[in-house]
Symmetry: C2
Subunit: 455 residues, 2 copies
């Protein structure tokens, strides 16, 4: 045990109480009436940064909620610089959503979990990094790396102003490695390193038939747009679940046998997934396992569809138009805009002459992928081994954190997803975070800084 680890051990309860203070500030970024609370949470973090010895700590205003920045740059020019990214804003939470206790009054229950909004996503995880810094500065007097904290207040509303901030502060954010603790693991005794995130292209398909809604008594004479959009949607997949858009898979980085072996150590069984989701049978590309399909293969999902009359009862309308929200999860090395163009052109091509269609792009973000052999990943493996007490397995996330691709692309940084999240309910009721995972997170972060310092 180092002095830093001793300090973390001795101050564990204090750290937890501090976290509870932060959690009690309902920094719900999507609700305008909570803007004051979001600002208060940013100020609280700046004060904590100053107290533990970070430099240049400040709450930086944006057109939305503030970005919190703080650094410690005394490790010397030869030492690597680490950029820690996290967010202090949270999803909305109300008792009526199904919470069994006040979402903004954290409690540790008999099961050993903290129950509160933001405890795992992401206040508890990013705060663990601040406590790792505190432990090192208090216990050792210095850090083994230069460190920069970038903690935003708009992650739950699509990081509305972060990309602009990153673009305008490339020099200030310059670093060698980026670490993000905002992912999780299924079981406390099996740490996970997520080395890939899917990209995303989100679109809206519009199909127009007649100019205005018609009476369905005139049916049989015009192509019903709700039917036409269904026909278009149907044609976007092959019967085996693969995507039927020419060129869609061209840039997909193939899985090599070694990576497949690693990924499938964390296999999802059909039985487990059926139980988890409640579907009668799983679905998808037959040549890939569930874990591969979720993380290493691109998808095309219908996120929503709307046409005509959808209220209770009957209305004999032949709708004028139909709309579907369609999004693709992308994997390395697909390019989001290219995929949009392929889909746009293909849909234009297969649209029958009886209706008009348009595919609009709503937003997009690139996939992120870090080579498992990268030194920063190797440092994370050793950190988990020493700080958490287990050999991590490697996962790819089905989800997307578009800012990761920004860090990789705009700042040229390898990104390590050092997730401490043992818990559940991140966007739902009864969000929870295992107290022991919080403490282990602090210790693992200390080890990670040390391992990066040796790079």
């Amino acid at each position: 045990m180092t002095n830093a680890q001793d300090y973390a051990e001795e101050n564990g309860d204090l750290f937890l109480n501090q976290l509870f203070e932060l959690i009690r500030i309902p920094s719900v970024s999507t609700l305008p009436e909570r803007a004051g609370d979001v600002k208060r949470a940013a100020d609280w973090l700046v004060a904590d940064m100053k107290r533990i010895g970070l430099q240049n700590a400040e709450s930086i205003p944006t057109a939305g909620h503030p970005i919190v920045y703080g650094e410690w740059m005394n490790a010397g020019e030869s030492a690597p610089t680490l950029l820690v990214y996290g967010h202090y804003d949270v999803q909305p939470a109300e008792m009526v959503d199904g919470w069994t206790s006040d979402p903004f009054e954290p409690v540790v229950r008999e099961d050993g979990y903290i129950y509160a909004r933001g405890c795992i996503d992401d206040k508890g995880q990013v705060f663990g990094h601040l406590k790792a810094v505190e432990s090192l500065l208090a216990g050792e007097g210095k850090l083994p790396v230069n460190i920069k904290f970038l903690i935003e207040g708009e992650e739950e509303i699509s990081s509305a102003h972060l990309a602009e901030f990153v673009n305008n502060n490339v020099e200030r954010l310059k670093a060698d490695v980026c670490v993000i603790s905002d992912t999780g693991m299924d079981k406390l005794d099996q740490p996970e390193i997520c080395y890939a995130l899917r990209g995303l292209v989100y679109m809206e398909l519009h199909v127009q038939g007649p100019e205005v809604d018609m009476h369905s008594g005139a049916g049989g004479t015009v192509h019903n747009p709700a039917q036409a959009i269904s026909e278009l949607i149907t044609q976007l997949h092959n019967p085996d679940g693969s995507i039927n858009v020419p060129g869609f898979y061209d840039d997909v980085l193939a899985l090599d046998p070694q990576e497949r072996e690693e990924l499938n150590k964390h296999a999802l069984s059909d039985e487990y997934w059926i139980e988890q989701t409640g579907v009668p049978m799983t679905w998808g590309e037959p040549d890939y396992t569930l874990v591969e399909r979720m993380g290493a293969r691109p998808t095309l999902e219908i996120n929503g569809i709307l046409s005509g009359f959808t209220g209770p009862g009957a209305k004999t309308v032949l709708p004028a138009k139909a709309m579907a929200k369609i999004s693709c999860r992308l994997v390395a090395n697909q390019k989001a805009l290219r995929i949009y163009e392929l889909l746009r052109d293909h849909i234009a091509k297969i649209t029958p002459p009886t209706v008009k269609s348009e595919l609009k792009l709503l937003h997009h973000g690139e996939a992120a992928y870090t080579d498992l052999k990268a030194p920063s990943i190797q440092a994370a493996i050793r950190a988990f081994k020493r700080g958490w007490g287990g050999d991590p397995i490697f996962t790819r996330s089905g989800g997307s954190i578009p800012i990761v691709a920004d860090f990789q692309g705009k700042l040229g940084l390898p990104v390590v997803l050092l997730g401490f999240g043992v818990g559940d309910g991140a966007h739902g009721p009864d969000e929870r975070y295992l107290v022991e995972a919080f403490h282990k997170g602090v210790k693992t972060a200390i080890c990670f800084y040390e391992e990066i310092g040796k790079m």
Copy 2:
């Protein structure tokens, strides 16, 4: 000119002013706050019936709005009895809907049309029958037929209590022929007789994938229900626009060459229909003309579809469920319940094992069809010739009036659709009815009674 026709001619302006009184009562059946007005309109009709010499005129309460009944049974037992059905309730109408004058303050504009809610649907048309009776009783002292009026106040809300009333009053409503004036013609100089109405079966298709909405980051592992419902919908038609449900067409009464010739006298050209609807190209069964597809062929239309997120912007949800409103327009001799069962069983059969589906029946009504050779149709032809001044063409309506099938089925009556509606906007803004059509309607009704009297 008979005395009755003279009387109608001389009193035309008076009839119009009386109609305006009736129109000024905003008898909007769907609005609870208008219930008093609906009752007032019923009472107004009863008063008019008594004044013109009908017997047993009364406003009969129902669980909803009253039914107005009145009769004149002095033509003798050997004379045929005619049942006149119509409705005095109207659709809602507000200036904000796009009216260019107060919808409940009728005006005759320079174009010769009455503009007001209910003028054509159906106050103006059914009131024409009362004025025909008045003209005959005042001009000739008697009617050539026994006559029964059944004027309901709930036609615009699916005739909620009429079927029950018919069931409970089979003896009272006993007649030889039923006449309904609630249809129209495109041009004043070309009267039309609608001899068939389509039936309707209205259903809701529900598809369930996962038990609750999932994050689309887990996409590629379960069958997206919005996609699955699209696949099911797609399979319900063949590429040529015919319906792909085994047995669906089994009971369809084939069109004989003579009927096709009659129907296509009133042909819709592709160009006209494209201009009317704004579609880029028409659609439907290639072996049938537009007029045949609309009136003489059954259809399957998607009236609505809903799944997942449909608001502005993006939500990366993989929806748990999807819903579609599906309705079929049916033709003689299809049976609505049988069609529902065929669809239900077929959809169960083609539903993939990856999702669950259910097809619910919302409501249904049978198709109606009157043989063109029926004496009552022949009487209508002669009535139009004499009273309107033109040879009618024969049409089939794409729409449905379920009560017609009830009259045919429960009362065993041939139904003649003697439509006087030259106008437009029946359920929309600026509903209008040509004044000349109103007057010709009165005269044609007189002739129709006379022709029925000779049967």
